[in-house]
Assembly symmetry: C2
Homo-oligomer: 358 residues x 2
Amino acid sequence: MTPLAPGSTIGILGGGQLGRMLAMAAARLGFDCHIYTPEADSCAARVSARQTVAAFEDERALAAFAKSVHAITYEFENVPAATAAVLEASGAPVSPGAKSLAVAQDRVVEKAFFASIGVATAPFARVDSRGDLDDALKRIGAPSILKTRRLGYDGKGQARIASAGDADNAYAAIAAAPAILEGMVKFEREISVIAARGQDRAFAAFDVCENEHNGGILSLTRAPARVNAPVTESAVAATRTLMDALDHVGVLAVEFFLLPDGALLANEFAPRVHNSGHWTEDACLTSQFEQHIRAIAGWPLGPTTRFADAEMHNLIGDDVGLWAHYASDPKAHLHLYGKGEARAGRKMGHVTRLTPRN
Amino acid sequence: MTPLAPGSTIGILGGGQLGRMLAMAAARLGFDCHIYTPEADSCAARVSARQTVAAFEDERALAAFAKSVHAITYEFENVPAATAAVLEASGAPVSPGAKSLAVAQDRVVEKAFFASIGVATAPFARVDSRGDLDDALKRIGAPSILKTRRLGYDGKGQARIASAGDADNAYAAIAAAPAILEGMVKFEREISVIAARGQDRAFAAFDVCENEHNGGILSLTRAPARVNAPVTESAVAATRTLMDALDHVGVLAVEFFLLPDGALLANEFAPRVHNSGHWTEDACLTSQFEQHIRAIAGWPLGPTTRFADAEMHNLIGDDVGLWAHYASDPKAHLHLYGKGEARAGRKMGHVTRLTPRN
């Protein structure tokens, strides 16, 4: 593909904070953005040239949207396959492609895909019935975690199983949806790799970072991760293998567990910019958002050089009430998403603290 | 003033690239922006939540705009005084205030103001008639430069006078407008100070930078300026004196000539973010755009720490056609303004090259 010329319009599916930060990165490169979202007054639309407020199932609105833009991307992996198909049929290139979406949308397919490319994961089993869950528990044991195959995020659609006696409750908790049982591993650290792959198949990873979760939601990311060189090399190599196997174009994030013995297990991936990559905007020459826009626009990837150590804290729900505190902290880069209501668990912003490398 | 809470709306007069970059900085802090501009489809409106397209003389539109926002600022100093008065009467705070605008809009008033606060300038004389020009030339001599008092920018409204014989042509060139004659000084370097003053009267300057012009338009800015410590201290002190005397709130830029003997002469100031401060977005912990939004929103100023040496080139007119070249240069941060037509002399974007400090 010829690089998309500045002045072109990029269509973004989804109106949340990732769409907002993608839109601002695109604007800096001279692109207009058109946000497609079911949500009126979305925070991404408020920094974009155009918006369509319509359901993801509205084929007429999707076709009109596709005709109005020169390239399409998305801020979340749960874009319905039918939606992506309508867009692709309309002619505007959609990146990342259908394979990245299909694999990321289903935890069983995702884990099997990791296995097929030689990337280790925790033990897992497909659970289509209550009986399957008993069989899976016999094989994998407890503690383990039962997750819906589809549409889970930030710890939603999950139930922990401490012992076989929890099986009934867990199965009820996920409403008997098609599921996966995953063995819980004792990990020393959770790390993630944010990387990009261009239309020219170039690959560029940001420095590996480490994450802390709280109640299933990312709380803190530290870059660089406190891990040794073989671990970072192995994590980046697995990410590259995955992106090549998906023929992925754009940014992608893989979360890994680092075990006490140094082994790495892939947990999951997101075929998009990722919360654990927000620090790149403040600490790197190219942010994950600009990198994604470069990739899907057919531009060369930018340098991922990190010029400072970084710590990113999410501002979740009421945390955003601390904005005045962070505004006064000379070490804090404050990012607020312009969302109205600070509901519990809602990501309202983040703060990056930098320590220059010297 | 209580700091303006995120979610509030900031009104920006003007729809050009400075308004665009201000709007994006405001969005990052969680503000919505409302652009007021006579220009349909302005590049600032395309990254903002709201816009009003109306003339600066349209008092009804101004009043409605003022009612819809919580704070007002501007991206250019030639906001008509009547416009500012209508806005102020509507109740929304306008920063910087009327004094900064009044002094900046008139070159004679500006030069006299510098003199009144003990900041040296080149010799100047007010020219209200052809006879005044002869008197001024007798006093100041040639080479000198005749400039309209109002509405000049990027070298427009100016005529050089190499010898007294050029007086007729020069006077015709500026269409006999009220003018100022300024002695041309042989300078070694042109430098500028970009600084901010908060509503709490706190002051913070970015590192002094140096500028090269081409055809009256800024071509290149280098940070830091290659000048010694007494020069930077003197330039920053003069800027602070000016901002205090204006009771300025927001960012302000002062251009100085550095003479071979080390003396500094103030050339002019702009009561706003400035082209020679664009490098701060890529090289400093806080950009001039965020700093301005912080100041006018009553937030504390951010740290101006510079973490890299920077060189900023303007992309003027057809230069923007080189976007693919800059997109491939790993040392170049490309900023494009999303303007349609690349007319000669039009500022279309800029490129910052960073050299990390180590």
